[in-house]
Amino acid sequence: MNPINILFKMFPDLGKAFLETFEMVGISLSLAIIFGILLGLFLYITRKGLFLENAALNLLAGIVINIIRSVPFVILLVLLLPLTQFLTGTTIGPIAASVSLSVTAIAFFARLVEAALCEVEPGVIEAALAIGATPLHIIYSVLLSEALPGILRGLTVTAISLIGYSAMAGIVGGGGVGDLAIRFGYYRYQTDVMLVTVVLLIILVQAIQISGENAADKADQK
């Protein structure tokens, strides 16, 4: 079957799959932005020599994040089933899959945010302190502003990684494009369908990458 035929025939399934992927990635990315930035800021601020230096809290947060990131996502999915049940009342479907996706996304993005914050020139922060600004004002107006290009690039990386992780969400019946590719391509040997979905994914990822880079470049040149 040629690609156009496939697209046409599979349209309902592909459409549903893409919507499921967007749902899962959308929810987990949004939560990653809210909690990942907060967590990343927390990791940065509690470092030695900074605003709220606290070695104990810093270590604790770091260890928790490391543990989450050490566990292979497939296993994490299974381990978090009780939590998923508790939060969403089910263990099946895109919403349920979003629970473990969000946990992974928050831990992943927090590290990227921390890295972006560490890249900010210490001298610029020192100058802001010398000016007499409050720590909150400095965090909001200097730290996050200077780290924004790095944070946006980290967000782009996270979004694209999440699309990949969401493929494994098929395991809990989460659906999505990855799951569709596995079902048709692997289980049904319909490699042409799998290839079409891969091409669509490539286009999607490219689009995300390009818009992410543009946003980061714009933040750089304010």
């Binding site: 020139e121 409050t134 304010k222």
Partner: protein, 338 residues
């Protein structure tokens, strides 16, 4: 205006030995003066200047600004003091993701100034430093000298009484350095702002400072007016730093070939302006060669150095030497041929 009393700063570390960056330093800086702190790298100058606005907390000693002991200030009281102390840095430290105008805006917002006052003041400040047309430019597009000007504008935004300058021209070329120093001098004259300037370049001190302190290995080894420190250095470290002003190199060939005696004469103040040599020539009926010389004007006062060669009988030389000793700051025999 600024007084540091026996300030010491020690950096403790679990891995290495404690580092005593500043040891018992005491300085007194008068209102409206331009005070320099010089020394080689690692002497502790940057650490010392940072105790003035408590970016570094002294391990011991007191910091007094305008008769108020601020050593233990924290939180809001510290921020309020910092609003009145501007600071500029060697690497400018502008906020890269904000425009020139927004950098200044940040400083004024930190002081809680209302928007209309901010928007009025930004063009004022930018005109003062000559960068009005760059208001909406990003710092990345500016040259080093322009960045430092923006930094100066930002430091002056909240009308500080003091301006701290940490090696402000060390990253700039000679011409740009001159223009920045002129700007600082102009600001000092116009607004009476007390300026403290850290540098390892003696030329910077010579060009705009009124008084200077010399630092070595965390201690202040000498201090005084710039003229006195250059013309009459006491400590070895100071002598090292000012030696360029008080020595002139003669080619070996000249020293080897010259028949007669070579004197090095130093003139201070009005001596440099009076015709001592021509009087000596007339008095002793001499022929003398001027082999090398220069006169520097430090804060408008002359400091002169002359190397002359004379060929004459021994008793004339002796009389000349005595005459020069009486009418100049110092005479020294550099070389005597046989």
């Amino acid at each position: 205006m600024i007084e540091l009393r026996n300030v010491s700063v020690t950096f403790t570390s679990k891995q290495r030995r404690d580092v005593e960056a500043v040891k018992q330093a005491s300085i007194s800086i008068n209102t409206g003066e331009i005070f320099g702190i010089v020394g080689t790298s690692g002497a502790g100058k940057s650490t010392l200047v940072r105790t003035i606005n408590l970016l570094e907390r002294p391990t011991s000693g007191r910091v007094i600004i305008g008769k108020v002991d601020i050593t233990d200030f924290k939180g809001k009281s510290l921020r309020d003091i910092r609003l009145k102390i501007g600071m500029i840095f060697q690497h400018f430290n502008l906020i890269h993701t904000k425009s020139v105008a927004s950098n200044i805006r940040f400083a004024m917002k930190a002081a809680g100034k209302p928007d209309n006052e901010i928007e009025q003041r930004i063009p004022e400040l930018l005109s003062l430093v000559g960068l009005l047309e760059k208001a909406h430019t990003s710092p990345a597009k500016l040259s080093g000298g322009q960045k430092q000007r923006v930094a100066i504008a930002r430091a002056l935004a909240n009308q500080p009484d003091i301006l701290l300058c940490d090696e402000p021209t060390s990253a700039l070329d000679l011409d740009t350095t001159k223009s920045i120093l002129e700007l600082l001098k102009d600001i000092n004259r116009r607004f009476g702002i007390t300026i403290v300037i850290i540098t390892h370049e003696m030329d910077v001190v010579k060009s705009i400072c009124d008084r200077v302190a010399v630092m070595g290995e965390g201690e202040i080894v000498e201090s005084g007016t710039v003229y006195d420190v250059f013309a009459n250095p006491n400590h070895n470290l100071t002598k090292q730093l000012v030696r360029h002003s008080l020595t002139l190199e003669l080619p070996d060939r000249l020293i080897a070939e010259f028949k007669g005696i070579i004197f090095k004469i130093i003139y201070r103040g009005s001596q440099a302006e009076s015709p001592i040599l021509s009087e000596a020539v007339a008095l002793f009926n001499l022929k003398l060669n001027i082999l090398h010389g220069k006169i520097e004007y430090i804060g408008g006062k002359p400091l002169g150095l002359l190397i002359i060669g004379v060929a004459a009988p021994a008793d004339t030389i002796a009389a000349l030497f005595k005459y020069l000793q009486e009418s100049t700051y110092s005479v020294e025999v550099l070389h005597e041929s046989d």
